[in-house]
Symmetry: C2
Subunit: 194 residues, 2 copies
Amino acid sequence: MIRTNEDFLSYAKQLYDDQSRKDDIVIKHYSKGSLLLMQGEELTRVMFICRGIAKVFFSEENGKQFILEFLGKGEVIGEIELLRNISCLCSIEAMTDISVYSFSLPYFRLLIQTDMQLNNMLLQVFAERIINTSSRASYQQLYTVDHSLSKLLEFQENHQLGITKEDMAAYLGITIRTLNRSLQKIGKDIKNIG
Amino acid sequence: MIRTNEDFLSYAKQLYDDQSRKDDIVIKHYSKGSLLLMQGEELTRVMFICRGIAKVFFSEENGKQFILEFLGKGEVIGEIELLRNISCLCSIEAMTDISVYSFSLPYFRLLIQTDMQLNNMLLQVFAERIINTSSRASYQQLYTVDHSLSKLLEFQENHQLGITKEDMAAYLGITIRTLNRSLQKIGKDIKNIG
DNA sequence: CATAATAAAGGACATTTGTCCCGATAACAT
DNA sequence: ATGTTATCGGGACAAATGTCCTTTATTATG
């Protein structure tokens, strides 16, 4: 569920170290709680996370949020918007302090047009993302909440991630009330670490 | 919702016409109701639809089906499985008679490694698919069925598509009973064209 | 320590969705 | 035409989920 990608990370690092002018790629830091991207706004940079964890979420017009995925080290941000030339599809918020390699748009565009290695890595990442997103869509539509929740808890334990109950609910597409009920039902009483 | 892609189609057509040996790409036909891919089985070819419409669906272990998307002219099939080297993620069934350009796996793999044009087109298609899939996941989780159903009906009218009620329900992730109720509620009485 | 302020948990009821089943309608054979 | 069978729609009830609000727990503060 947390996507991480070592290939990407070393690729970005190498480009960063090799660049002559030092402004195509810069390292930026975001503190916990700040936004890397804001849904609806224009994209300004394409980023690779080299430290920390972020959450990707939609804010729907009815005020609800839906968390699409959690991103870890090596994940790329903003590439979809760049490719399709659209404003930001969703918001991305730092769940921990985060550091990124931040690429200028013209430079990243150039890379996509010329660098086969990047193309192939992106294809790999996209393929995996499609697999995850679509499997989850199917799963969450067709199974009970309890089912999906068990998987989420299991994952959280594996990754020592302090996901707040609010985020869990947003990930599962349910209310906190329903989340509490399900937690009782499956007998686990996770303390809120938010 | 039906993805079509002219770039891909002309690209495939040109490769097909140009090939010296005539076995890297062949044209195949599938009759309505037959399967282009079967979930869980090994992938044998990568295909481009040049005629007809297909539905892509998961069969979950609890017996339910979830329709991920409808594919139209120019759409590619099997590329995800090839890239990630996995067995078929979902089944793909011909909703009408279908013709495809069918690529051998080694040939398609070679193209991906060497052809920048294909890479860029695939990136475009993947990006759009991710946008659609994730928007829909969010939408269907956070809005009422009525809302999603209205969009589906609207789409169906635009495309003269005879989607059965069973397929509509599978697309929305609900039962037929709920679909009927929603249809009543929004006042449209669609005849079953299955 | 006591008390107020804040956040989390859960009860009660309403709404939505699913399951089961029956009756109406249509298609079909005799 | 008559009876038979399959299909579809919807009623009735059960289960799941959401909304609202009260109760409980936690934290902060004098």
